[in-house]
Amino acid sequence: MKHIISALVENKPGVLAHVAGMFAARAFNIDSLVVGRTEDPQLSRMTIVVVGDDRVLEQVRKQLARIVPVVKVQDFVGQPVVARDLMLIAISAPPEKRSEILSLIEMFRGKVVDIGQKFVMVEISGPEAKIEAFINVCKPYGIKSVARTGTIAMPRHAKIEP
């Protein structure tokens, strides 16, 4: 089962290496890992998507919490969350296909962020399934390049953390 783990960590050098190293050393599989700053300059948030059974996830949570610069660990499984990925995708778009592609982009509420003679670059965000679906509909036109973030998430009715 897929779990989204959110870890608040101290914003200092070596923390990412420590977390990534722990996952590798204990043979836990990371689907994605995103790090970014938070409202507090001392803290960063890591959002980690992990697949595993309950036993594995219990260990993932405990082993994360055990790392000294990791301040707080939450597993969002079973609670309503807003989870989003962001993707930049360059799709091959010759003039005769362009309007067709643009309407697809609109349907997915994507945004054209760059356009060349033969391609368009689109920014699109949403739940992972939507991103996957967009990639699938773009395939027939030819995908030049894809860059994706992993998932970031926040529980609904989130308690604002101190």
């Binding site: 190293g21 050393a25 260990q59 055990r66 000294v68 990791v70 301040v71 707080k72």
Partner: protein, 576 residues
């Protein structure tokens, strides 16, 4: 002692200007460091200059690995934090085995390493290594200090992290310019550890549930690990076992926490543990694990471990609980505190049938060896050391057969008496560990029960013992083989002794060349006399016992088997 500010103008404001090196030394003293270990090198010269006349007893090993094991054993023997200093690059790299050993066995060690100048980091400078990167997986915590203002705070944090919660090694990497730079210090800086919390007090409801389970149990077993030793929980453990009347089995690192001469002691369990301990675990209805981590050398095939038992697991590390087995009653907290709470809530039960069954197993499957053999049996040497030291010596070991026989045939009576590399299984640990233990406990008799190949790995440290007049004793159980791997090759690889022997030097001559006393014993009847002489020596003493070459450690749970599927029980029975 503290270097005063040169300008006397600000003396009224109580601000002192100190170098990073001076701050390191002052903070070590503030943390109560009386003894430390370390090896010099280029980038730690400013620090060593400040140590020149510091009131700290300093021990220089012959190799940084040895020094790290010494600091580790110093901590295990004394309960204090062991401190080791090394230079950058190769010095730091040589600490890795020592740190990993301390990490696996949860030993509080603070390692300080020098680093190249801050502006050179990442440039492949001379003697540069990514020390924090290399040591991250083998430390509880590590960091690099880049500002002299942070030195005192980070060293305080290092001692705090190393010695609290589940103890472990912490490394602080200090670039040479940070040692040289100056800053004014005004009082103690607060620690900044928002992610580090220690739960010592157990959950009251969980403790009372555990006590109820103990009171109800017909066939309980206490399974005790190194956590009880490091929490100084031995008195509470004894009180619990006596008040509730519980049999006690110990892991290798738990040995000493319960007096093995007492009838409740089931000695060590696991792969080379006592058959009576393994049977008791497999038949118990309640297993009370305290400060133990259900390591594979203890559980054997984990699916069939303690199949009839409800499991109580008391541990300070939440990640240890339910890692390898599922637990019915988890209690997170300090072993000493929780055992103390349990003592209040348990009741005495006779459990006559359970204890008589255990007594039967004990009689049938006690650890035995052939006492009539004409050769020197390694077990005989250990029994003789145990007898002549009246169960009261500090024993260190190498790794392999020597270690298992020491655990089987020396009967420990108090905590911190056995110092052995359990988790990592570091060959070469015994000799430097004996030195570290003797430094910590100058009046104790310290005996390293070692294998020839384990001893070969770090024997250069014998000169360290000579240098500092440490009267350690080394018993080499010399069978000419890497004994434990030879045993596995005999049993599982059709006796093909592939690469498991090397020619050894004459250890008595080596010992004498290094300034120690050297004795060779090749006759069984000479063993008691040699042990007596060894114990009487005031100088470090090495005794080379030429033991039976192909003796095996029994019983043995083959890899992947349940712990009641032991080999060698027929051999033990035949020796009754």
């Amino acid at each position: 002692m503290k270097s005063k500010s040169r300008t006397s103008a600000d003396s009224a404001s109580q601000i002192t200007i100190k170098t990073g090196a001076q701050i390191i030394v002052d903070t070590l003293i503030e943390q109560g460091v009386e003894t430390m270990f370390g090896y010099l090198g280029g980038v730690v010269l400013p620090l060593f200059d400040r140590l020149y006349d510091a009131p700290i007893n300093f021990v220089i090993p012959r190799h940084e690995q040895g020094g790290c094991h010494m600091a580790d054993a110093y901590a295990r023997a004394s309960g204090k934090v062991g401190v080791m200093v090394a230079t950058s690059g190769p010095g730091a790299c040589n600490l890795v085995t020592g740190l990993a050993t301390a990490m696996m066995d949860s030993v509080p060690v603070v390692a300080l390493t020098g680093q190249v100048r801050t502006e050179l980091i990442g440039n492949d400078a001379f003697q540069e290594a990514d020390t924090t990167g290399i040591t991250r997986p083998v430390t509880k915590y590590n960091c690099i200090v880049k500002d002299v203002k942070d030195v005192a705070r980070i060293i305080r944090e290092a001692f705090y992290i190393a010695s609290t919660g589940r103890p472990g090694p912490v490394l602080v990497d200090i670039p040479v310019d940070v040692e040289v730079n100056k800053c004014s210090t005004v009082g103690p800086d607060e620690m900044k550890l928002p992610g580090y919390r220690v739960r010592t007090k157990g959950h009251a409801k969980q403790i009372s549930t555990a006590a109820e389970a103990i009171n109800k149990s017909e066939r309980p077993v206490l399974y005790v690990g190194g956590g009880v030793v490091s929490a100084n929980g031995s008195p509470e453990l004894r009180a619990l076992a006596e008040k509730a009347h519980l049999p006690v089995t110990m892991t290798l690192l738990g040995l000493g926490s319960y007096d093995q001469r007492k009838p409740e002691s089931l000695d060590m369990l696991g792969m080379h543990g006592a058959a009576y301990a393994n049977y008791a675990v497999q038949e118990c209805d309640l297993l009370i694990a305290v400060g133990a981590r259900f390591d594979d050398r203890v559980t054997g095939k984990v699916e069939t471990f303690a199949p009839h038992a409800k499991i109580i697991h008391i541990d300070i590390d939440p990640a240890s609980i339910a890692k390898n087995v599922s637990v019915d009653i988890p209690v997170v907290g300090d072993a000493k505190v929780i055992l103390g709470e349990l003592v209040k809530q348990v009741e005495y039960r006779e459990r006559k049938r359970w204890f008589s069954k255990i007594a039967e197993w004990k009689e049938k499957f006690d650890f035995r060896y052939d006492q009539n053999s004409s050769t020197i049996k390694p077990q005989f040497v250990i029994e003789e050391v145990c007898r002549q030291t009246q169960n009261d010596a500090i024993i260190t070991t190498g790794v392999g057969q020597n270690q298992m026989w020491a655990a089987q045939f020396y009967k420990f009576i108090k905590p911190r008496q056995l110092i052995s590399s359990g988790g990592l299984g570091t060959m070469g640990f015994g000799l430097p560990a004996a030195i570290g233990a003797q430094v910590a406990m100058p009046d104790a008799t310290v005996v390293d029960i070692d294998g020839d190949h384990s001893f070969n790995m770090t024997m250069t440290e014998l000169r360290t013992a000579v240098e500092y007049n440490l009267p350690i004793k080394v018993c080499i159980l010399n069978n000419g083989y890497m004994g434990m791997v030879r045993q596995w090759q005999e049993l599982f690889y059709g006796k093909r002794y592939s690469k498991s022997y090397l020619s050894n030097p004459d250890y008595a001559t080596v010992a004498r060349a290094l300034g120690a006393v050297g004795i060779t014993v090749d006759k069984k009847e000479d063993v008691p006399k040699a042990v007596k002489q060894m114990l009487a020596e005031k100088k470090p003493c090495v005794v080379d016992f030429r033991v039976e070459r192909e003796e095996n450690v029994w019983p043995m749970v083959p890899a992947g088997k349940s712990i009641d599927e032991m080999s060698g029980l027929d051999i033990l029975e035949r020796l009754i």
